[in-house]
Amino acid sequence: MRIATAKETYIADEGLLTTRTQRAWMIVLALVLVLAPFVLNAYWLYLACLVAINVASATGLNILTGYTGLVSLGQAAFMAVGAYAVAFLDGHLGTPFLLNIFAAGLVAAAVGVLVGVPSLRVKGLYLAIATIAASFILHFVFTNWVSVTGGMSGVNVAPARLFGIELASPFALYFVIVPITALMVLAAANLFRTRIGRAFIAIRDRDISAEVLGIPLLQYKLMSFALSSFYAGVAGGMWAYFFRVVTPESFPFATSIFFLAAVIVGGLGTILGPILGAAFMTLVPELLKYVVEWLGPVFPNAGAALSPVRTIVFGALIIFFLVFEPQGLAEIVRRIRRFFHLWPFKT
């Protein structure tokens, strides 16, 4: 049971981690993340990096859609902008890895601001369509601006180098990708303790009221787009170093839907939501493959026969969560925490 957590100052009350138990668990999580690469095999390390990249992008989308209430289906296109920015900077200017990743975020943010302009006039489904249109325009640019993007065949990216060490394997990249994602998630968590974050939430809840309260909608909506695309750009940049080749087909439109689904399944408007959602959406199809594998001895030719069933099960799982836990996976975690807060008095 949680006791002795009374706060004496507002600052303490607003802290990210308010109890000793939370801090202890956070240390455990940090230790697990540090030790994981030494325990996991290449396959799981690859997935861990992929989850981290997807978490970064989903967290960005959550700032825009979950916290500011602006639906976007352009996240994949912003990631592509980041990935191409990295490919260009790395290939043409040879600038250092971390700078490229940061620059990728900035370039994507600039594009995000442009794409966000219609958000001042349209909301909801209309804005979703506007972002879809923007992503098709960007796709056209990726395909036809051959001198920068390499056209349809795309561009190769040399392995990232940090302090003279080549980061080519998932093992090496893990130590860069996971900390960057952790920093980004931490920044997002802190964002909503500031005026800017609260302004986003006010806009989401009722934009007219927010304006009456003195929040300039133009500035804050564009800021939300910029931040969200910055996250996507950095995620895209990490993606480029991870897969080492970027083509217009690397980030299909379905990827944008993937991120929106991740944020919704995880829990809109929570920090934990996109983390759980991205992990769920990335890992569940892989875990379902193990089910197919386990059925191998019983079911002849399980791989070919059961793979379509696996897709159906994945879809059904998403529907199941949306119906039975509309507030997302984050709510399940919150419920588990509440159980321990009250234990043993109410279970």
Partner: protein
């Protein structure tokens, strides 16, 4: 009775997951085995091909093992579904190579082939082929450990052009391609080649990959009035729409396509408008009863119903990579990517058991051989329209 509640289910799931993550995965490292790994699309847009490819490779593995295996080793296929997505293909690659000692690998797309290339070069232990005939991959310097079991897309169209040039000197051609990497791949090089061969390229039409309404494109085609229209970058849609509208307008053009649009069962469902559709096919069809094709007889015994073109592609790919492994092992060399590729390149005038109607050689990364087939709606079959055409470099 045990009361199964949410906590139990979660606990069981966690235990299952933990056993999966931490279990020693290299349990299969059997010295007497030769494993073909595969990132195969069994779901998603390319599933129709993936299912056939898997069947083809599996049957080759079965036939080979029944005949005693490869240099004393049993052949085994370890594959997983990729849904035709590059990140999943890479995940499957990482997983299978962790679980098995893999030296031969089947990849599912050009995107995957390009993405995994650096890793193949780094490992230096795997020879890869796959479903892609992307011309970019037909470059032994850039893709030293990959190959394709057929002509690349540029070579496919070159085979079509050779046929056209023989049929009609100075024929007028229009290229129609989808706006995808797959669709755009051979167009530039093919336009150049057509001009060199004295053929006249009177138009180029690009359509969205999922185009259904092609009425404006048909009008463009009518204005250009070509003798031959070459499609590339499609599987089926919107080709039937093109064909039926062109027939209604009375266009004289003959329509042609490349490998992935040449499956017999696809056209059988289209019916009359498909009559006369032609294309390049590197392999014989399932029903071909040519006397020099004993392997097709065997396949028909194994599977009594029609097998799609992807089946032959998978079968032949497995045959060629296994032949490379056999030659490497017979020479007493290690199964490194370099040795495997060198062994593959020694394949000269090789008899494929009739899957390809002429003996083949693989001097580089492709097998530049094909034959023109034409669809007969009356017989519901693709029929040979030319002899085998081998491209000379």
């Amino acid at each position: 009775m045990t009361d199964l509640n949410r906590r139990h289910v979660l606990g069981l799931a966690a235990a299952g997951l933990a056993s999966t993550v931490f279990s020693p995965l290299s349990a299969f490292a059997d010295e007497k085995e030769l494993v073909i790994g595969g990132s195969i699309p069994l779901t998603g847009v390319f599933a129709f091909a993936g299912v056939a490819i898997e069947a083809g490779i599996s049957d080759f593995v079965k036939i080979t093992n029944e005949a005693g295996g490869v240099a004393g080793r049993k052949l085994r296929l370890a594959y997983e579904d990729t849904a035709y997505k590059v990140d999943q293909s890479v995940a499957v690659f990482n997983k299978l190579t962790t679980q098995n000692d893999i030296h031969l690998y089947y990849g599912d797309s050009t995107g995957f082939a390009k993405t995994i290339n650096e890793e193949l070069n780094r490992r230096g232990s795997i020879l890869m082929a796959g479903a892609s005939f992307g011309s970019e991959l037909n470059n032994p310097e850039k893709y030293p450990f990959q190959f394709m079991a057929g002509p690349d897309y540029v070579e496919m169209i070159a085979i079509l052009l050779e046929y056209i040039a023989k049929q009609q000197k100075g024929a007028k051609i229009v290229f129609v391609n989808s706006d995808t990497e797959f669709g755009r791949d051979p167009i530039e090089a093919s336009v150049k080649r057509a001009k060199e061969m004295g053929l006249e390229v009177v138009g180029q039409i690009v359509t969205p990959p999922t185009a259904v309404d092609v009425s404006t494109e048909i009008l463009k085609l009518r204005r250009a009035n070509p003798d031959f229209t070459i499609f590339h970058g499609y599987v089926l849609a919107p080709l039937p729409e093109f064909l039926s509208q062109a027939k209604q307008l009375g266009l004289k053009s003959r329509f042609m396509g490349t490998f992935w649009s040449m499956d017999n069962s696809l056209w059988a469902n289209v019916g009359a408008p498909a009559d006369g559709y032609m294309g390049v096919m590197p392999y014989r069809y399932y029903y071909d009863t040519a006397p020099d094709a004993p392997i097709l007889e065997k396949i028909r015994k194994l599977r009594p119903t029609y097998q799609a073109t992807g089946y032959m592609q998978g079968f032949l790919t497995a045959m060629l990579m296994t032949e490379a492994a056999k030659r490497t092992l017979d020479a007493g060399k290690d199964l490194t990517a370099k040795n495997l590729k060198a062994a593959l390149n020694t394949i000269k005038d090789f008899d494929t058991g009739g899957i390809i109607g002429v003996p083949i050689s693989i001097p580089g990364n492709s097998v530049p051989v094909g034959r023109i087939y034409s669809y007969s709606a009356a017989d519901k079959q693709m029929k040979p329209a030319s002899d085998w055409i081998s491209l000379k470099k």
